[in-house]
Symmetry: C2
Subunit: 439 residues, 2 copies
């Protein structure tokens, strides 16, 4: 007797949301296909540590095939999504690179789309070349090479003003990523004093440009104040209520609240502001000409149970969605816990539907918010309990180690962090990538 056909699920996106959904569903007797443009899951909250040479890429990137190695009912497809045919229940794919084959279409019974977000340069796409972002592994490695090259260049730059530009680092955006990045750059500069002979790296300027009136706007004001104090102690200068009006590779121009323009000579700029939903949000909305809808930012609108209106078999989640709550649209912060909870919720609702049960609305359970600023400095907002300093930092360490995938990676990261803490060193200070001299 032939086995009855199993329910076919396609999950698009191996970020936090898609991965959590896939992990939960993979344990059930379903046929699951996970599609991603990259062959690995990036633990994005620690990407800034790759950018500062504290961690190595493979310590925060996990090959998707390895994660699902034991699961014969899971397929991993390396491809880009070109479109969705919601009536035919089909995902259209294209290869990630010319000549690399991928299936043209995937048929599904249920679909989960979790395309995530990407950095947005507010229409100034030209800034990308001068101010890499931290959303991709390549962006993080590019930033690492730029920071280290700037310190090397400062050592030999004879002109005072140009040397100052090599030693000026600008971080745009004071969310958790921007704050963590600014703090680490300040620490690198301070710790590098022993590495250089001419340049006074301790005199490096780190400017943190933020349009709001405080850093870490996702945190309670008291923790923002505490974080700002820690940043200043490390030598970071927050430029609050400032906007960036130009980035040209030699300098960053900012505009103050009074409209005053200042041009800072700066060779190294990190972009940690302006997130936009993945382009897949619009592709998905357009797939249903009648009911498909995006909000002003381009997020696809989903029902409270995270399904698409009129398509109970299609879930969309993570940074690319806005949730319809009655007449309002709710957008949740772009944090890993939100995405992970949505991934698990979508998996549960999908299974409920398969079992003939009713789906439930998604509600984010905010367990807290963490940001680290530097060596033994962090802030934590845990269900109204506000921590700062060492206790917050230990909490940060424990939470991040816990969520890293795989015991081997936890051990490697713990080893690196222990050495960094004890020696003030960073093990992965390599200038690598494009345009390097070859042997």
């Amino acid at each position: 007797m032939p086995e009855p056909a199993r329910h076919r699920i396609v999950v698009v996106g191996g970020g936090f949301a898609g991965l959590q959904a896939a992990l939960k569903l993979a344990k059930r007797p379903v046929e699951l296909t996970l599609v991603d443009r990259r062959n690995f899951h990036l633990f994005q909250p620690l990407a800034y540590q790759v950018a500062t040479g504290a961690l190595s890429p493979s310590e925060i990137c996990y090959p998707l095939r390895t994660i699902f190695r034991g699961r014969r009912n899971v397929e991993v497809v390396l491809a880009e999504v070109a479109g969705f045919d919601l009536d035919a229940r089909r995902v259209e794919l294209r290869p990630v690179a010319e000549g690399v084959p991928a299936p043209a279409t995937l048929e599904y019974d249920s679909l989960i789309v979790a395309g995530g977000s990407r950095y947005s340069y507010f229409g100034h796409d030209g800034w990308h070349a001068h101010a890499p972002e931290l959303k991709s592994l390549e962006g993080a490695l590019d930033i690492r090479s730029r920071i280290l090259t700037a310190l090397e260049a400062a050592e030999w730059e004879p002109d005072r003003e140009r040397r100052c530009a090599w030693l000026t680092f600008v971080v745009v955006g004071a969310g958790p990523t921007g704050v963590e990045m600014a703090g680490q750059i300040a620490e690198i500069a301070r710790d590098s004093v022993r590495d250089f002979r001419r340049a006074d790296t301790a005199a490096a300027r780190v400017l943190l440009v933020e349009v709001a009136d405080r850093v870490l706007t996702g945190f309670p004001p008291s923790l923002s104040t505490s974080a700002e104090r820690s940043l200043r102690k490390l030598g970071v200068t927050p430029l609050l209520e400032h906007t960036v009006t130009d980035i040209d590779g030699d300098a960053v121009t900012t505009s103050s609240p009074s409209g005053e323009q200042t041009r800072y000579g700066a060779r190294t700029v990190v972009w940690a502001a302006g997130v936009a939903p993945s382009g897949l949000a619009r592709v998905l909305a357009d797939a249903d000409a009648d009911a498909g809808e995006v909000d002003r930012a381009g997020r696809v609108v989903v029902e409270e149970d995270l399904t698409l209106r009129g398509h109970p078999e299609v879930f969309a989640l993570g940074d690319m969605v806005a949730i319809r709550r009655g007449d309002e649209l709710q957008t949740l912060p772009g944090l890993a816990p939100v995405a992970m909870q949505q991934g698990r919720h979508a998996a549960r609702m999908l299974l409920a539907r398969l079992g003939g049960r009713k789906t439930q609305p998604f509600h984010y359970r905010d367990k807290g918010n963490l940001a680290t600023i530097g060596r033994a400095r962090a802030v934590a907002d845990l269900k109204g309990m506000h921590l700062s300093g060492a206790p917050a930092w230990v909490t940060w360490l424990a939470v991040h180690l816990w969520y890293l995938i795989g015991f081997q990676n936890r051990l490697l990261v713990l080893t690196r962090w222990a050495f960094s803490f004890l020696t003030h060193g960073r093990g992965a200070r390599l200038i690598s990538g494009r345009n390097q001299p070859q042997p």
Copy 2:
């Protein structure tokens, strides 16, 4: 009373030879400047493990500044050498990248040049695009992405012949690097069976093309036989006495001893043959129009004490030199131990000369030769004692762990190796680098 001017030493090249010389000299009251095009020392004997995802770049690359962190008498300069003015005792530099400042010249009292070697494509420079080498970190990462992409592509390639080309891996050159690379690719293919659903990765072909009549020509014939047997067991097909006549991205064409041409469909090719001395060898020889001399391969000719004829203050060492022994020219194998011994010898001779003592000829003390082939398989030639199998492999592990720089790196590498051995997994299987989809 002003301190007497210290002896100024410039070391060019942070490979095994230059680094050993610099480490030894740094402990003395001299002013030392180390020049390299990269900001790190590459532990090249393990580059193939980065190419196969077993190790991460930062585990085999050590920032030069960190190595000399505690030494106030050492400067590290990130620059390329443009020329030598031996009369004026000056090294001319140029920046590694446009706009990155570097000193224009460095003055020296003594000079050590250790430019190493680079891969040579025997005049077929076009092959480089299709067959990356293992001399640079970027080459190793390129190979890693290609191997992993080939396995992904094979999974979805509908055409049988093209699928076969994705699953055919050609390694050119059966020296230690080629043998190690071929063995590891065969193991990846075999271990990946559980990762893929359609492609039979265990059916992958690994061809090892070698012009000589045995693999590992630097080893005694009995160990070559043993290594060949291990390779065949792993599924590697050695093509001995074969030469490569074409590499075009889709296929590799070889020529057999009888001149028969065979075209193997193969998308992934690794170049581990044909080493040429660094271009610095000729630049150095040309710096002395009278006495400067290169051999037919382009190596600079040095005296028995590793100095340049007529320039007792200039040492040249490593892969880029040939040693004049009476009327003969001696070239030593391009192995790390040779380079390291020459580095230490040059440092000792330089100090002897400073102390008014006579310099001694360099003699290579061959302590043995090691090559690993795969999981628990290796060959070792230790002062006439021939080992193969597990005992050779344990020796290989111990020697390589010992020579890694820094306790942290030994711990990280040991952790990775232990996990790889226990789980048949490779932690760093990331497809990254140029041309990757960005968020």
